[in-house]
Amino acid sequence: MISTIYILWLRQIKRYWRSKSRIIGSIGQPLLFLLALGFGIGPIFAKAGAGNYIDFLAPGVMSQAILFMAVFSGIELIWDRQFGFLKETLVAPVSRLEIVLGKVLGGATIATLQGIIVFFLTLLVGFRPYSLKMMPLAFVLMFLIALFYTALGTAIASLMEDFHGFQLIMNFLVMPSFFLSGAIFPLQNAPRLIQIISSINPLSYGVDGLRQSLGGMVHFGIGKDILILTSLALLLLSIGSYLFSKIEA
């Protein structure tokens, strides 16, 4: 059981590590958000008396990087299916659950690493976490966000035959999740509708938890964040496993 999960996990890590262009490429977007938004909106943010915008934005951009990488890692399943490798896994005498766990843990690890890379990037543009003691908690939150969205990506990919639906997922799931999560603007004073949408957006809890552990700013409260993210991750993992077990190759 463990060895199967491990080898599937290892495969994901190796593939990630070997595609340097993918690592560099996936840093581009968070960097753009940090620089353009950070320095563009920062002065207005400060003028409005809301404090240092980079400190506010940094955890949001980390969440964004994790979200993108996690969903993409999950969706990679389609890639495996199209290029035939999935069949090799499906004819092996292992349970479908082991396969899903290995793949999701691998994807989640990569997405967490991505979050950590972006964390270091934010230090370069001036972000300072308020306490180092809280760092392990920040990594736990990163992993929970990664876990949930990789499981979600895997679940969606189990239902898709090819990449045609990819744009749909980007535009109607990933982008809105990011923009309506409180990653780039505070939810406190947002219109009621946005607050409602945000409160049912899982990423909001990730952003909030991460922000709290790195910068001390609270919206929902970290206990609630962790509880919600963990339950959702487990739920999606079960749904993903079920959908994956239905795949015929």
Binding site: S3, T4, Y6, I7, R11, K14, R15, R18, S19, F83, G84, F85, K87, E88, T89, L90, V91, A92, P93, V94, E248, A249
Partner: protein, 267 residues
């Protein structure tokens, strides 16, 4: 001789279209068995059902004494397979692809090492074991897939169009390897093909399938005798009333090669 594959009334429909239509056949242990038929005849669909990838609508199957519907893991341990389309991880090395397979099939580490070494040597890939598979040619990939499919010492080896898209020299070489393995380990070989000469030369027993139905089966000699013809080709013509849609097939072949190349580029 013992029977290792037994199929009765196997049926599969896709959107109302009969892909496999009540086929029945037996494969004897240690034999080389060919499924001969044009593209779209139902060969791959049959293999998918035998290898637990697809559930049939009706019929019974027994692989090595196990039922692919109820005893999936036992069946999965019993067979090795080379799929029609490539199924290697391009971003891993040959050795890593083998290692991945070995771990999934729970082969202990020391045994795994030894077997990987042996098999990669048999298929002449030991020197290139640490190269990424994306640098491999089509023939090398096929050889690696054959080695990989044998790593867990299966009783029966499914090869779905194993030489499709390969040049004649490579094709010969692949077949030498397969025959050697059949002799050396007494592995039952179950292969599909639309190449008449491949079936005639390699197989001890042939089932001819067209439009999802098995229309004749037996040894090459029996098929010739039945139809009072001198070659398998003539027998095929007598049985089906047409030549195997060779032009059609080669066109598809070419498309497949092009597709595989395109995939290589996309990566």
């Amino acid at each position: 001789m013992k029977t290792i594959v037994e199929v009765r009334n196997l049926t599969k429909k896709f959107n109302g279209l009969m892909a496999v239509d009540k086929i029945s056949f037996k494969v004897k242990k240690g034999n080389i068995f060919a499924f001969l038929g044009p593209n779209g005849a139902g060969k791959t669909t049959t293999i998918r059902m035998l290898t637990t990838l697809l559930k049939p609508d009706q019929g019974q199957m027994l692989i090595n004494g196990f039922d692919p519907l109820r005893q999936q893991d036992e069946v999965r341990k019993s067979f090795g397979i080379v799929f029609q389309d490539y199924s290697l991880d391009d971003e891993l090395t040959a050795y890593e692809n083998m290692e991945f397979h070995g771990v999934l099939y729970k082969i202990p580490k020391d045994k795994r090492k030894k077997r990987i070494r042996n098999l990669l040597k048999i298929v002449d890939l030991w020197e290139r074991k640490d190269d990424l598979v994306k640098t491999y040619s089509g023939g090398m990939r096929r050889r690696l897939e054959i080695a990989r499919g044998l790593l867990h010492y299966p009783q029966i080896f499914f090869l779905d169009e194993p030489t499709i898209g390969l040049d004649p020299q490579t094709r010969n070489k692949i077949w030498q390897h397969i025959k050697k393995l059949n002799k050396k380990y007494q592995i039952t070989i179950f292969f599909t093909t639309h190449y008449m000469e491949e079936a005639e030369k390699m197989a001890q027993c042939i089932a001819i399938i067209d439009h999802g139905k098995i229309i004749a089966q037996g040894t090459v000699a029996e098929l010739k005798k039945q139809t009072r013809t001198k070659s398998l080709e003539a027998a095929y013509l007598a049985i089906t009333g047409k030549t195997i849609r060779e032009e059609n097939a080669t066109g598809l072949d070419r498309m497949r090669i092009r597709m595989n190349r395109m995939r290589g580029r996309m990566r």
